[in-house]
Amino acid sequence: MKPLTFTLRQRPDQRLDLSPLVPHLISGRTTAQIERIELQTTRRRVSVGDIFRLRIGDADRIRIEESCDRLDRIGYAMTGGEIFVDGDVGVQAGRLMAGGSMTVRGNTGPWAASGMKGGLLEILGATDAFLAAPLAGEMVGMRGGLVIVRGRAGERAGDRMRRGTIVIEGEAGAYAGSRMIAGSLIVGRKAGPLPGFLMKRGSIVLGDGCAVMSPTFVDCGYHELLAMRLWAGIVDPHSKKAAALLRRPLQRLAGDMAVLGKGEIFIGSRN
């Protein structure tokens, strides 16, 4: 069966909240019901029918075409099924996602995968700041699942993450893995200043070092650890680059000693 396809007619004149357009909320609804779903974020009402051309299909496989950066909260709390977005998306893509898979063929705004609990989010372009991070006032960021970013990530990727894996194949901005509680973060290329800032536990792997390393991380030498090989085996189907990085000898730095100090940063080459 063909996917259920939403094609954007034109760039909307306000930001839209696409959180109702997830498989578990859409399935079983008629075309007319779907077209009446409201998406506005201002007082001006906008429904699905106003803004998208709908091609009916399997609600477990949703396609959003001609997407733009004003479409926010795509895949919000999705529990299963599949979402494919062709184009850029706005803020909080895949926020609180618990299952299923979502692919964005484009760039995302900030807070992609925010508080994610499970499933797979793949971003083929770049992502803005606060990847997988909590919103203001929340205690915990990502707590499960897998995020793959093929391009670069903005500042504070993996902020306060608790569990799960993030793979950024490109560069990362400042404070990658800041305040990490646990979990695993891989940055394929160079990270900005102070990665792992105030991290308690968890693992960060930097393929090409970072701009400035915090003095509160202590050198533990070069190692080829078995756990990295296991990790490489899990990551390999999703990112060959990340898997190859994990199979190299890595320098281990323990920290952040300014807090608990049970975290670790692995560096792929001397910087």
Binding site: S184, H223, A227, L230, I234
Partner: protein, 302 residues
Amino acid sequence: MRVLTVKGVRIDNTFAEAFGMRATALTITADTARWARQAAVTMTGFATSVIGCGCEAGIDCELTVKQTPDRRPGVRVLVFATSTAELQRQLQTRVAQCVLTSPGSACYAGIEGEEALKLGNALRYFGDGWQVSKRFGAKHFWRIPVMDGEFVCEATAAVTKRAVGGGNLIIIGRTSQTTRAAAEAAAAAIARVPDVIAPFPGGIARSGSKVGSKYKGVPASTNDAYCPTLRGAVKTSLDADAGSVLEIVIDGLTSEAVAAAMRAGIAAIVKLGPKRGAMRISAGNYGGKLGPHHYHLRDLLP
């Protein structure tokens, strides 16, 4: 008793009586096959019988680098006990003392199942606070810092309640040499059957036992009915030409695996023939009332 003869080997019309057990499987890996084997051999030492060892354990098979989670050479080990609590106790102490200590080793669950035994979840405390928990995909591991790097251990191992312990073959020959040859052939054939172990030394027991004793507090004693030197003195099960008896005890993860192992063992003994090997095969039972699993030898002929 009606006796069947296959290629000159007499096969008693009797059955082996076996019991339900709790079991688990582990995959032990190391940098080389030699060290994976070493860890497995050490861990399954002193594990021949639940009567005196707490569990019965052995090596099921060796694993190639393609069959292990970390792509290193490995060995699959099976552990059987009479209760889940005892299995947990044995698993914990044996992995802690014998696998954790072995150079370059890692330890993973070898079967899937719903009920879990603590593996890394029990051993992690050795890390004294420096242990690291990692979830990769659906699996949960513990990384415990040790003097040669890190000991990686899966958090839990599954337990199966479908396991069977006590499948057996009694091998009777004219001399100790020919009986041993038959038992060795059977043990080698059984070692190739998946999901089973023969826990006794080299797979073979020479001191089969009966339940009880004339002495108070001794749970098992020599199986006098099969002792050739007592042939005239006791109610014997041996014929006049029997000079030596050996037994193979088989534990399996499933009843089908135990039956397959017994079938492979009988086939190997029959193939060797009565001149070079054993002249008679029997099996041990308790009258059929104690164990729920009965393996009739006539159903397992080659």
